[in-house]
Point group: C2
Chain length 361, copies 2
């Protein structure tokens, strides 16, 4: 029997790689064949602690993973500043690339990565897990319903969590040399993606950052927000992202006939079921002493965690390319690029005194 | 036995006056002694349909109500453009004033009203009903809790409902001669008050309107939004108000240790109980495959509808003044004025090309 599983190599031992490794090992069409770290000891410990198969190879460098012919694809959870270097090398070595978000420090770097992937004919996908939860597809159905949702006019999204302990000083995500986008790149990435998702990826015309972000001592953003403006039909969106306020993962989308709310869109409270709330054609009760109907609960069960569904979708695309029946799916790099373009626009607006910045794709 | 109930006169037969009349008749310390309309027939029908006591007098003018010595206080649900005229006359005639929102077309008009009330020593209160629901006091407890909420950093509030039928063309609320503030004055009033309430009425430093509002053919706002910026400690707020999107009445408040959500803050879905949701000290589950705890439901029962509690509080203040033990409570006119100042600032920002406008109280 031929091994048809897509064989992953993991670059580095980031904390998030534990969760993704688990999902690769959980999934029927994927396995882990290698991990590399600058420290062989760390890689060895990581492989053992995360129940890698005995066949998995452990390397003391990233290059060794990329040179391994038993690696079909790489998962890259390195600090953002290293993405352009290692994703490009991976693509050049014909490895398909599953890249952690934020995908790059700016759209120029991302374009370098995407060009390398395109030249090599490898699949690119960012690791935005919630996109792959079946709840997300169900929410799409709800907001696409002409009769029960109508035209989308307003979205607000929040993703925040509290950076505990010395996080705000020493975590990779707030280190200006590693992840200089800070909370905007980490939590803002999700809120921006949520807004674009809700508007079915139609880019806004302008982005205006909110006055004033908070920064740590190194000048990295700890909290910020922005408004996105389509400048037609009243279509707007706002978001707030932060490392300074308690966990909140909200999307509120308002349509002309209905609305939709979700309170754990990034990572469901419960791994097995993703809830959301929707209501349509609301009206006041007699004398406006109340209103009906109350929002309905939707509870979308999932047989796999959302990150496993992500890995499986990525592997399906890779398998299609490997077997010659498919080409790299352009949807995923386009969504990454649109998200990065908005991040760049928010930063440009902040630098420009919080003036509106025209969105250029 | 002396009649100690506060005797209301109602100016006009607006739809909202039905709900408030019911609450005046429900409340133990209030009654209705008169109603006036430009049409005596309308006033007569209104009194009958709304179960006024037989003793209630029915007048064919507002002046007659204000001249009636059996009227202690007036409830004024007239179109906003008429507020300054009739609230001032009412105050001059020593009637306490319960005024529908938006209280005035601008803060200058409101100041004229407040000056008249102050000169006459009468109580002023705007008819923002949700302020008086016991849920609001309980939510205040939650967001004031240093250990479970911490410092407030971000608020988003939405109030929208769909103007049905010919509402968007012909309703008083979108008539430039009657309620020229449109959705900003009607639904925006509540969202702005919600934000100020959450920040314990500390005014923001600047207000920046979102690009671009929608207008009806007469140039009245049908949807708009803004960001409010305290310009310190990262404190921000955003709101969206609209007559064009399905009913939504949300507050989401984010603190450094907890957060709070309410989805029917303006008018509870159910008249007898007001729910909200709060969570504190959230943390990721192992491997970040979920998060705990889930938000808790709070369900705050109320023995009276919120508008009856409003009327009762107003009447208690009036009784205190009438009996010589109290003076007009300045809290209520101050809250009205702060809310109106923000409305004026949003309009100024819109007129000023969506630039930030400094908030001047």
């Amino acid at each position: 029997m031929t091994e048809t599983r897509i064989r992953f190599g993991i670059l580095g031992c980031a904390n998030i790689a534990r969760k993704v490794s688990r999902s690769i090992l959980l999934s029927p069409n994927t396995t882990i064949s290698a991990i590399g770290s600058r420290s062989l000891d760390k890689a060895t410990a990581f492989a053992s602690e995360n129940h890698f198969p005995e066949s998995a190879k452990v390397y003391g460098s990233y290059d060794a993973v990329l040179d391994d012919p038993d690696v079909d694809a790489v998962y890259v959870p390195l600090p953002t500043s290293l993405h352009v270097r290692w994703a490009v090398v991976a693509a050049q070595k014909k490895k398909h690339v599953l890249l952690e978000k934020p995908v790059a420090l700016n759209v120029g770097e991302l374009d370098t990565i995407l060009k390398a992937c395109e030249s090599s004919g490898v699949q690119f996908m960012d690791a935005t897990m919630w996109m792959h939860h079946p709840r997300t597809a169900k929410m799409r159905e709800v907001i696409s319903d002409d009769n029960k949702f109508g035209q989308l006019k307003s979205v607000h999204s929040t993703f925040s969590y509290v950076g505990e302990g010395d996080f705000l000083k020493n975590d990779i995500r707030v280190n200006p040399n590693l992840d200089s986008l800070g909370a905007l790149g980490d939590t803002g990435w999700y809120s921006i993606r949520a807004i674009l998702w809700a508007y079915d990826y139609e880019l806004p015309k302008t982005v205006t950052a909110l006055r004033y972000p908070e920064y740590n001592e190194s000048g990295v953003i700890l909290s910020c927000g922005a408004s996105l403006n389509w400048e037609k039909e009243g279509k707007v969106a706002t978001f707030y992202c932060s490392f300074l306020t308690n966990l909140c993962m909200d999307i509120v989308a308002l349509g002309t006939k209905g609305n939709l709310r979700v309170h754990d869109f990034v990572i469901p409270f419960n791994e097995k079921v993703g809830p959301f709330y929707a209501v349509a054609n609301s009206r006041w009760a007699e004398l406006s002493t109340g209103c009906v109907p109350e929002p309905s609960d939707f509870k979308i069960a999932t047989s796999y965690p959302q990150e496993a569904l992500m890995v499986q979708e990525f592997a399906r695309l890779v398998e299609g390319i490997r077997s010659g029946v498919g080409k790299p799916k352009t949807k995923w790099p386009i969504l990454s690029r649109k998200t990065q373009v908005i991040i760049d626009s928010v930063l440009a607006s902040i630098k420009n005194g919080f003036q509106p910045v025209e969105v250029v794709y």
